[in-house]
């Protein structure tokens, strides 16, 4: 099943009243949506509020979601409209340089397309997780490091990674899992801390 198929399955479950399925979608897209909305709204606390509002609106609108587009495209459109409405209600307008029309969400993927406008404080807090992740990756055995990087950075499928690394798909799956577990182990102390931390 493709990534989109997984989303579709989660959406179907949520449409049948399974809130946990929707929470899984929240876990998956909350940071990506927050990153998108930070193009409209500078204040990190306001970004979080609007992101929350967008998810609630999406949840309420689930019965109307027919699956004609990918879930994330639909979610990002809701997010953009929520941000615009918020700014209008506050008597503000999104800066022209950061304006994102809903159509742009069609091809939106996380990564290089969007630049954050975080405050220095939020960058510092955010970087703590990112630095731990990247430092752990650097210390991984080469076959684990390459596998996780090809998957997460290059977006390659297991099949393509198997060809590139000249090994079975099952080995790729195992290497990526072991890499994630190694990183998770290093993150654990950070994740047990207070609410001020950003992750």
């Amino acid at each position: 099943m493709s990534d989109r198929d997984i989303d579709r399955q989660l959406v179907e479950r949520a449409q049948r009243g399974d809130k946990r399925a929707f929470e899984m979608l929240v876990e998956k897209y909350q940071r990506k949506l927050g990153r998108l909305l930070s193009r409209f709204i500078r204040d990190p606390a306001e970004v979080e509020d609007v992101t929350q509002e967008a998810f609630i609106k999406a949840y309420r609108a689930l019965p109307a979601f027919r699956g004609d587009s990918a879930f994330y495209t639909w979610l990002y459109r809701i997010g953009i409209n929520t941000a615009k409405n918020y700014l209008m209600a506050m008597g503000r307008r999104a800066p022209t340089s950061t304006e994102v029309e809903a159509e742009e969400a069609e091809g939106f993927e996380e990564g290089e397309q969007l630049r954050d406008i975080n405050t220095p404080e939020s960058v510092l807090l955010s970087n703590e997780i990112a630095e731990t992740v990247n430092a752990t990756i650097e210390g991984l055995p080469e076959e684990l490091r390459k596998a996780i990087q090809m998957r997460e950075i290059e977006g390659m499928s297991y099949e393509d990674i198997a060809q590139a690394m000249d090994c079975p798909i099952g080995t790729v799956r195992s290497r990526i899992f072991r890499a994630r577990e190694a990183i998770a182990e290093q993150l654990r102390p950070l994740l047990d801390t207070g609410k001020d931390r950003r992750w």
Partner: protein, 167 residues
Amino acid sequence: MKEQISALMDGELDQRAAGEAIERLRASGEALQTWRVYHLISDGMRDTRLLSAGFTARLSERLAAEPAVLAPSSLPGRTPVQRFAYAAAASVAAVALVGWLAFAPQPEVSAPIAKAPTAVTPAVMVPLPSAAQDYLLAHQGFSPRVSLQGMAPYVRTVADRADEPGK
């Protein structure tokens, strides 16, 4: 179980295994935490904006207060089998409709159908100039028309010339 979750988030499980993994995520808080951390790692590697640690908890509280959505299964063509079934049913319906239209007994027409009078446009004779008549007479032998043989073409042309107004 964690390896299944890892493969699930990469979209690398078949439908049955994905369904099982999602069920585990639904039932186990530890599994959901694994899903959460793996996505955090993914976003951390891609330098995605990070939110406060309380974000998920606050949103979960709000979601808990929301009435559960209960939508009819509205996603079109969820599986290839269903998509094929819908297409096959549509094809059969189309063939049945065409067949019925073609072979069904036609009803007797009991009432006369009003017929709109056909507008008859009278033919207008456009007289040819005499030079043209001369030309046609001179080149009668090259005419591709074979239905008129012998003297008939000449007679017709000459007769026409004789009726020319002003002659």
